[in-house]
Every structure is written in C-alpha cells, then in structure tokens.
Subunit: 281 residues, 2 copies
C-alpha cells in the first residue's frame, strides 16, 4: 500500500494504472475507520483492480457550530485497517492541499437535503458535494462506494452524478449490523448497558414496518406512528424523527408506492443513533 499526501503524486500513480487498463474503485472517508468502512473497502476490493481510499476530514461540510476540530482522527490505526482491507492507494491530504486558495465557486444542493438529518445541518451537503466532486476529479475512479447507513448522503451523491454527468458508478453498500440487528456505529460505545440492550428495537421496528407494508399497510402515517410507539414503549430513548419518504427523491408521500425509505433518529443519554431501511413495492 502506498500513501499519498499530494494530489499530483496520487494522479501520477493512478495515471499508470489507467494506462494499464486497471479498473479503479474508490472509497472516500473522513477516517476513524470502523467495520462499515471496511465493508465498503471489501466491496471495492472484490470488484476492482486498484482500490483507492481517501481519508480527509472535510472542513466545508461542518457547520460553524459543529465539531470539525474535535472530529476523531487516528491515522495510524486507519492505516492498519486500510492495509488489512487490501487498499492499494491511501490518499491522505492536508486541508491546505485540498483547499489551497479561497474558493471562487461552490456547489449548492437544492433537493433531497431539507429532510432527515440534513434538515438540521444547512449547507452540510453543499460541502459534501464539493469535496466528493473534487475527490472524483482527483481520483477519476470507475466506481465509488458509499454506505447506506447515511442513505440521504447516497441520494445526494446519486443526484450529483446524474445532474453533472459524472462518469463514476455509485455503489450503495448495505449497513453493517451487530448480530442483534443494531447498526454498527462508533457512537454505540456511548450507550449505557441498558440502552445497548434496548437499541436493537430501532431496527426491529423498521423491519416490522416493512412486514406491515408487505401485508398491505400502505399508510405512511400509521406506519410512522407504530414505529414511534414501539420505540417509546420499548426503549428509554427519545425519538428525534421517524420519517417515510420516496427514495432517492426524499419527497413526502401519501401512500407507500415504488421505492421508499423509512428512516429514524433516536437520542439516548449520550448518543444519537440513526438507522433506516429501504423497500420497493
């Protein structure tokens, strides 16, 4: 595995691989890698000749009151995870390398952003769109991999690729879960023992909704209410939102139809957990 700190060095390396007609799979991350990222890397490894991983905590996607400085970083551990996952090229640029000058233009994501977690993070997806576009132009991968844990991010990036004709195939990768169904997250360690025991209820309530849909309940309000009731009665968490939208457009729906996402966020004492499930009928 080679580590690259500059855009030029990475480009020169990848130029050789492209010339040799190697396919390039790309996994962009902010580092502090966990099993979710590892599953993206495995997927990339299975389907490409060359796997590129980027680790870059992108300042432009953090709001003024968000924790850019406190975002966890552990490059040495990440390097080991990357090595184990069979990464060929690890791109680890500085902020100055990625943003050497004041920006003269920017991206504005206008759809799919004002709902779910995006609703509370104005401008967040503009920053994501900017850095993903930059990284795609730097790496020029054939395929890129994103986790469905953040299904809204996947929807935004798929929109971007469509709007700007970006020549990259986007592969959404299913959420990695604990054996009891809880979505893996670095934040799970902040749960108390009791909360950790309750937390699988989140995914179970989503699975129950899918079952209800398959059994003919196509009423989003009812399904939403059932999930909220289940979480309120079976956990000590506070529901932040439970939402049902069309996917990937993330538009409100009156009736379950086509592809939909059921997504939720629940606050526990020291951790806010998110999860979602996609269903097509």
């Amino acid at each position: 595995m080679k580590v690259f700190h500059t855009i030029n060095d990475l480009r020169n390396e990848l130029k050789i691989h492209r010339k040799n007609e190697k396919s390039i799979g790309f996994v962009p991350t902010m580092g502090f890698l966990h099993e979710g990222h590892a599953s993206l890397l495995e997927e990339a490894r299975r389907n490409n000749d060359i796997v590129v991983l980027s680790i870059f905590v992108n300042p432009t996607q953090f709001g003024p009151n968000e924790d850019f400085d406190r975002y966890p970083r552990d490059f040495e551990r990440d390097e080991k995870v990357a090595l184990n996952a069979g990464v060929d090229c690890l791109f680890y640029p500085t902020v100055e390398e990625m943003y050497p000058n004041e920006l003269k233009s920017t991206m504005k994501v206008t759809k799919r952003v004002d709902v779910l977690c995006g609703e509370k993070r104005p401008g967040h997806f503009d920053g994501v769109a900017l850095v993903v576009t930059k990284l795609f132009n730097i790496v020029q991968p054939d395929q890129a991999y994103f986790g469905l844990k953040d299904a809204q991010q996947v929807a935004v990036i798929e929109g971007l690729v469509e709007d700007f004709n970006i020549p990259v195939k986007i592969n959404p990768v299913p959420t990695i879960r604990e054996e009891d169904g809880l979505a893996k997250s670095s934040r799970n360690v902040y749960l108390t023992d009791k909360e950790r025991q309750e937390a699988p209820v989140l995914y179970k309530s989503l699975q129950k909704a899918v079952e209800d849909i398959k059994n003919g309940n196509l009423n989003p309000d009812q399904l939403q209410q059932n999930i909220i009731s289940t979480i309120q009665s079976e956990t000590s968490g506070t529901v932040d939102y439970v939402s049902i939208y069309s996917y990937p457009d993330l538009e409100p729906i009156n009736k379950i139809n086509g592809k939909v996402i059921i997504a939720l966020a629940v606050k526990f004492s020291n951790a806010r957990l998110i999860d979602n499930i996609l269903i097509s009928i």
Copy 2:
C-alpha cells in the same frame, strides 16, 4: 466526422480513442460558428489526436429576459465549418438530452462574476459553470479551448478547474481580429458603414493603454479616462464600461501590477461591441 446526439453514443466513441491513448481536444460552443470558433478548432486540431466540438445552446446560462429562443442557430452551416476544421466528433445534443430531469443541485460562481459583462447578467456564469462541468464530464478531454474575446468566461472557467480539481488543461486562445484590429464578432454586421470605420478605435485605444503602461503610466484611473476620451471623441458609440482589473481574479487595483485586463464595452446604434487586452508587467 461523426455527429453524436446522445451522451452515451459520444462516450462509447471516445472510450475507444482513450483506450488507444489518443489525446482529446475539446471546443465547447453554442454554435453559429465564426472565425473565432474556427481558430479554437485549429488550435485543438494542432495539439490533439481527436478533436471534439460541442454545439449546444445552453438554456441555464440565459436570464429570464434574455434571448434563448432567438439565439441564432444554423446547424447545417456549422457542420460544414466543423468538417473544414477537421473536427472528428461533433456533439449536438437536445436540451432534453442535457437536462432530462429537474436539477437537484447547481453551481454557484461567487468570484470574478460581478464585474464587466457579468455584472449585468446575474446567474449567467452559474449556468456556464454548470454546462461546462457537464460537458467536461461527458467528453473527459485532455485539453479544452476557450476564446479570450470573453476573457471573463476564461477566468471563471479557470477558477472552476482550480476549485474542483477538474483534470482538463484550459487553453485560452487570442481574439481573432480584422486587418484593422477590430475583434471579429457576428455582431459586426450590425454596424453602419460609418460605425464600422470608427470601430477599430476600440482596440487601438486598448493598445495605446498598453503602450502607456510600458512607458510607465501605472495609474488605472488615468488609463481608463484616456480610453473613454478617445472612444468618445473618435467614435459615435456610447461607452458602456471601460474597466481595468487584476487577471484572472478580476479584482479592482490601485496600480498596474502583475497581470491585468483592460476591458471595454461600447454601444453603437444596433450593436454592442466588447473587446479586451491582457498585459503582464
């Protein structure tokens, strides 16, 4: 020369050329080609294995009160110009092909736009940035060619390439002129005989300013005033603007220093002419 109407067909063709390690030069235009465009194509022809020309009147760069519908189109003539210039691939998509769905994101150009001609066309360069980004992603050229007649557009596109790490070399091509120095433009035919005789004064006044700068006059206000006086006394046109800015940042300057642009727009009875000159000291 092959003509392509769909993104997929063009991409499939270019994929073969890329595989054969052919270099690709790209000239994006809105058609109604004149000698200025021909000079871009010549430059592309000289320096690339494959020359791609796009003809697309882009609706997103026209304001609500601008003349998208009335913009001149003559595909048959353009096709001949392209053939004569040695174009290999002519991309001629419909609006539906380029914008099949409602946009979910857009580009916002924040610098270099609120001056010169851009000042009166809010949003114009956002549309230019959008379509150029799309076309670059579709064609994936090694190099692209833009005329310095619209030096502000060149500055915006250079900014875009820098901000988004777009892997395309931008080549600004000098303005093509009549023998008497008048910048070639489709609009010159709208000049009366008398105006046509006066019009070379525009470029001469710019050349005079460059001469003055070389002789040590580094005061932008004085240089600007001299140009305005010359045009007012020697033509029947009305000065729209004469401006001096740093280039490509297009920031106001107190003293001529580094690379600067001197640009002007002058209204005649039926035509508004623009011209500019770049100088580095």
